[in-house]
Structures are given as C-alpha cells and as structure tokens.
Symmetry: C2
C-alpha cells in the first residue's frame, strides 16, 4: 500500500474524479462579467467534512453548514456545496439564515437530494442582506455547465476557483495524484485537488476564509473530518495576513470514492497516512498562494521560530512577528531593521531570555546570543531586491519546540484596497 | 481638603514647581537641528515612580531604571531623569547596559548625587549600539540651560518634550493646577504636568513608549508608584496605534514637594484622591494626543464597549476592534463598513451572542440586537468628512462591564513612515 509517484496536476477541484464543478456569473456582483457563484456536485455515497471560524459572529452559511454536516454524520450523504462571492451573509440576523437555507433547498430540488446533503458558503461584504434572486438565476445555469465540465476538467476547476474570489488577484488551485496498491494488488491512482480564496481578513486560527479540498478516495466522514483538521492545523491555520479572523472562514473536504468505489481508506492504515501527506501538501500549496496574494503584498514572509520552550510559545512568537505591522512594513521598505523582530518577539508573552536569542533575516545573522552582530546592509538590500520570499528565523534558546508561519509584507496598496473595498 | 478650580496650564513639565528641565541637540541624530536629549532635574527629597514595558526584550535603560528605582525604594532619593531620542538602546546586549549606566553616572557627577538617584530612558531605532559621546556633549549643555529654565517655564517644557520625539509630528504636553487646603487652613496651589512621545509601536499593555509626569506635591514613593499605576491603567494602557508593544515603554512620575514641602499628601486622604483625579486627567490628555498623532493618522477612533460580561471581555473586544487593520482602513477610507466591526468583535474571544449585539458608528445605529438596520450612507460620509473623531460603540448585551480604547485610522502614510524609518 506504499505511496508512489506523487504528481502535480492542474485544474484544482477539476482534477478530482467523480466531482462536477462549475463557476458562473449569477448577479451577486454589480460587474456582470465577474463569476460569483460556484457549484460543486458529488456522486451519491460521497462524504464531506468541514472546519469553521471560531468567531462569535459566525456567518449564516457557517451555521447552516454546521447543522447539515451534523445531519450527514447521522447518516445523510453529501451531494453538493454552493458558494457565492460578493456578499458574506454575515451579521445578517434571522433573514440571513433563511436565505442560506433557501440556497441549499434550491440546489437540492434541482439535483434531487435532501436539503441536508447540501452545504453552503459565502464570502464578501459583511452586514448586508444576501439577495436570493441570484441563486435562482445562477444555480440552473451552473447545473447545466456541470454536464459540459464532467470529468477531469482544468478549465472548469479554474472558473470555479475564480467564482469564489473577492480581492484575490488570481484563482488559487492545487492538485496532486498518487498511486496506492489496492487489496487485490492492482495499482490505483488517487487524486487530491483543492481551491481556496482569501487575501485579506486572514488569520484563521481554524480555517482560511474558504478552502475546498476533494479526493476521489473513499473515506468515511469521521476519518475525513480528522484528516481535514490535521491538515488545516499545519497549513491554513499557519497563515496570517492582517491578524483579522473572518466571520466566514470555512474549509471543506469532500471524498467522492470514484477512484476505487469498492475500497475505503481506513484510518491508521499506511494508505490513509499516504493520503494525509498528499492532502497536507495540497493545503500548504494553497496556503502559500494565499500569503503570496496577501492584499497589496510584494513578498511572502516565512517566519521560522525554533528553540521555544513549547509549541504554544513557538506559535505565540511566530504569530507576533508575522502580525506586526512594523515588521511587515520594514520588509515592504526593503529595510533589514531586525530590531522590530526583537520587539515583536518580546511582546509575545512567551517564556525566554533575550540573552539566549538569535535572529537572522534573509539568511543573514544579525543578532546572536543576545548581541547584535555586524552584517552588510548592502547585501541585505541586494537580497531584498532579488528574492520574492523573505525568511525570518528566530531561535529563542529556551527549548526544542518550533513552528513556521506564512505571511506577507504590508504596503500602501493594502490600505488602498481596504479603504475603498465597498465603494 | 476638597479640590477646587482645576485649571489647564501650558508648558507641560515646565509648569511644575521645583522641576528644572531642558532639551538640547546632543548629536544622537544625524540632523544637528533636531533636539535629541532631555534632562529633568528635581530637588533633593524628591521621589519618583516608574512603570515599564512587559516585553522580554526590555531595553537596557529600562533594566537600569528598574534597578535604580529599587535602590530609591530602599532609601535613595530621586534627582534626575535623562532621556535620549534617535536610538532605543534595545537589543544591544551587555554593551547597551554599560552605556545606560555611564549616562546616569555622568549626570550624577555633574549635578552631584548618587548614580542610583538618576533614571534613564531611550527611544528610537532598536538594535543599534547607543553611542556614549553625545551624552558627554549634551549633558553639560543641558545642565547650563537648566539655570535659565528654572521655575515655570513654558518654552523649556516644550523643548524638553520636543527632545524625546521620534516620528511624532508635534510635542505632547499637558498640565493642570488645582487648589487644596493645607492643614493650617491656607490654600495651596498644586500642579501636575507631563509630556509624552509615541506615535507608532504603541500598544503598551503597561505604559506608553515614554511619558514623564511630575507634580509639586510631596508624596512618598510607594504612594506615588500606586498612583502612577492606576493612572496609566486608565490612560496610556488604553491606547493602541498598531498593536505593537515597544521594548522601551516607560512612564515616570516625579514628586518635587516644592508646592508645600512641609506636608506630604497621604494615601487614602481626600487630598490624595483629588491629586489622583488630576493626574488621570493629565495622563488621558496625553493619551489622546498620542492617538491624534498616530503615524499617518487622519482621525482619532474612540472605541466604547458596553454590556460586556466582565471587564476582561470588554477590553478584549475593544482592543480587537481598535487593532483591526480592516476597521482602521475602513475609517481612513470614510466607509461606514460596520461589518468589519462585527468581524473584529467576533474574533476577540469574548463571551457574547451575536443576537444580543448592537453597534453604532459616528452616532448612527447600524446593527440592533443582531439585525442590520437601515442608515443613511450619505449622512455617514458627511460625518466622516466633518469629524476629527470617529466614535464606535458596541453593546455586547452580555453584562454590565464597559471600557474605552483610543486609536487612530490606518493610512498609506503609516506604511510610508514605517517602510523607510531608518533610511
């Protein structure tokens, strides 16, 4: 059952056997040329899992999907996920809940399944009522396209990813195939594909704004939930753009079983571990794309904290550095002002002594065991100019725990994008 | 002993009897026209108190001042405070500690007191060694000016406040006088004056970057320390510019006793309560000026949270809103996008139900008991244009606790200022 030959594929969700996807323009946005409704349909006997925002202001679609997943855990199947952009259906009270349920109901009528077998997600402006009409226009359109897009469709996968974009500048997709031996010794090629959106309001602590992963392996819901949670903890939960956590953060994982319908991957098996490793890779690929596309970003910042007393401290320090506006602006300004990294580490509330700390930026040592060391500012500037990734490493000298967090720099464009987002 | 006639005064620390202050250009900065060294000298028998950053990367002057205050608690007096700008002497290892002590030693030799009777503070770039030479140039210069500035000197108070500025655009000073009856029934006029600096890297959790308060009342050190802590908790600890906590946050309170040397204000007395009220006013005045001068700021944002289950929850929610880059950019963009306020409240980790929450911005109700309400976008835009203060009020509907936090909007200029601070 060993994993072999992991291959990168194109098309994101379009690469996953058994899944049908489509992105259409339904009218949620003023611009009629922008896709704003994504529909994902899976064959009967599929399963799905989800992890959601921890916000007290969780959006209506998050509440409805939580309910529907609970029903699915009690025996219902998963058949479809409907996602709109342009409006988050968050902070919309009871009316928002009614609209989210109506959207599920409409999909269930057209594809003929139970309402509880449909999940829903929304992304966009918070606090405005989500109109129902675009669903009634867009869902039939999308269902028609599903036929055309059946199978391994790169273009359909991309347009689906495009339909969930807000301020993203490119659609984010990733996919990998891998080979396992079936019980009868034959080789089976499995696929994990996914898409994600989100470039601002990203500090999920639980899931990114919206990520949809899918595999053509057959996996029971409880095992799928566990695999999703583990993968999200090591990917989407480690990216932060602006420390803001969305009301709509949702990550879904769908298993169609189409690659080998007769045989489910069993938790604890070697095959399941192989699947989880590929799932993690796909999630980290999407996570990197989110950092790359941070609002106004020109650089990905990779923060590595080592030598922490425990993993909580490692996370606190890495997040304090990654969230610090002063660190993020110093990178935007191509300035190796590492004192701000020390400042951010110092405020994190972790347990360490400044005398034991070492810091490097752009692979240049700047502070070793509590003392500044000479480095070439010229060389730092050269590396800032040449590199699209800025590595910041901090060794706290307090233990063995380590973590990595992804973020991006903070530029004037972030402010421009967010200062007139609604207008 | 009742307090009467609180009056606003000009000149900050210059208004406090017994205190001698001066600001000079000593050469810490490249620009020879900028003041960069402040000296504050108090008469023998004065007392001082201090509260400091909680950062693990506390700067060298913070460590030295903590030590010297401990000696003063054991019987030494307070005689002087020396502050440089242009270099924070933070993350500078053992060499930094030596320089901070040398600065105290130099002052003590010239004004003839013990080294432990001198306190020290620094503000500016982190991670560069602080040169000693400018002290040897600047301290004698400043001591000479002290004579000229003796007494209630407005201009000396202002130049001292100017000497501690970094990216501040104006010096921050405040002063008040008030009248109490002495034991023999005569009226005594007391003064509280202060200065502060700080416009970025402000989210003190303990004290602002640097604030110096002084009074001409006589107050024992332990009582002074308690009064300072209480005032800071309700002022500097409630302002946040960018969620970054400095390595150098320090607030000092000096009591010269010059207004009435024979009679100390006793903790618990009506007179002491009157003093504390005026001290809090002066601190809040300076706090407001810090928010007003937030790096790149065009508006002060005042966040009021009411109806919280407890004061910790109130603080969590108010701080989450005040620190949210998305809330701060929406104010910069004159956009009443209140959904982001809901988002920030939701992520704070406080205990409340969204169905119970009400939100208003610019005194317009936008969300009442969990439901959005219609409001005039035109009126909101008008108020954004007219007002220099933006009030955000959130009632969580979960209890009786409340708090107020001051912050400012986030503009492109913040990024510009911080992207090339060192260059």
């Amino acid at each position: 059952m060993a994993k072999t030959n992991t291959k990168e594929l194109k098309g994101g969700l379009g690469a996953v056997k058994g899944l049908q996807v489509a992105g259409v323009s339904a009218g949620f946005r003023k611009n009629p040329e922008r896709l704003d409704l994504a529909l994902i349909v899976a064959p009967p006997t599929s399963t799905a899992a989800g992890v959601f925002t921890q916000s007290n202001f969780a959006a209506a679609p998050v509440s409805v999907s939580r309910e529907h997943l609970a029903s699915q855990a009690e025996g219902k199947g998963f058949r479809a996920l409907i996602i709109n952009s342009g409006n988050a259906n968050a902070a919309t009270g009871k009316e928002g809940l009614v609209t989210a349920k109506q959207a599920c109901s409409l999909v269930s009528e057209i594809i003929k399944c139970d309402e509880e077998e449909v999940l829903v997600a929304s992304t966009g402006v918070i606090g405005a009522q989500l109109p129902y009409k675009p669903f009634s226009v867009g869902v039939p359109l999308a269902v028609n396209l599903l036929g055309a897009g059946r199978g391994e469709s790169i273009s359909m996968g991309l347009s689906t990813a495009e339909a969930i974009m807000t301020t993203d500048t490119f659609p984010k997709t990733a996919a990998r195939s891998f080979v396992l031996y079936a019980a009868d010794g034959t080789e089976v090629t499995y696929t994990v594909g996914g898409m994600a959106k989100g470039s601002g309001m990203i500090a999920p602590h639980m899931a990114t704004m919206i990520a949809v992963l899918a595999t053509d392996a057959r996996i029971e819901q409880a095992a799928l939930q566990q695999a999703l949670k583990e993968a999200v903890d090591l990917s989407f939960n480690k990216v932060t753009i602006d420390s803001d956590t969305s009301t709509n953060d949702s990550a879904y994982l769908i298993a169609t079983g189409a690659a080998n319908p007769k045989e489910a991957l069993q938790p604890g098996s070697e095959a399941f571990e192989a699947f989880k490793a590929v799932l993690r890779e796909v999630c980290q690929d999407l996570t990197y794309q989110i950092a790359e596309d941070g609002e106004g970003a020109t650089k990905v910042i990779v923060v590595d904290v080592t030598g922490a007393a425990n993993s909580k401290d490692a996370d606190l320090v890495a997040r304090a550095i990654a969230d610090s506006p002063l660190v993020k602006t110093t990178v935007a300004g191509h300035d190796a002002n590492w004192g701000r990294i020390a400042m951010a580490a110092g405020k994190a509330g972790a347990s360490f002594k400044q005398e034991e700390v070492s810091i490097s930026i752009l692979d240049l040592e700047v502070f070793v065991n509590g003392t500044p060391v000479e480095f070439s500012e010229e060389e730092a500037l050269k590396r800032f100019k040449e590199r699209s990734e800025v590595f910041i490493s901090v060794n706290l000298g307090a233990g063995e725990a380590a973590t990595r967090i992804w973020t991006c720099d903070l530029t004037k464009e972030y402010v421009a994008i967010n200062g007139d987002y609604r207008s």
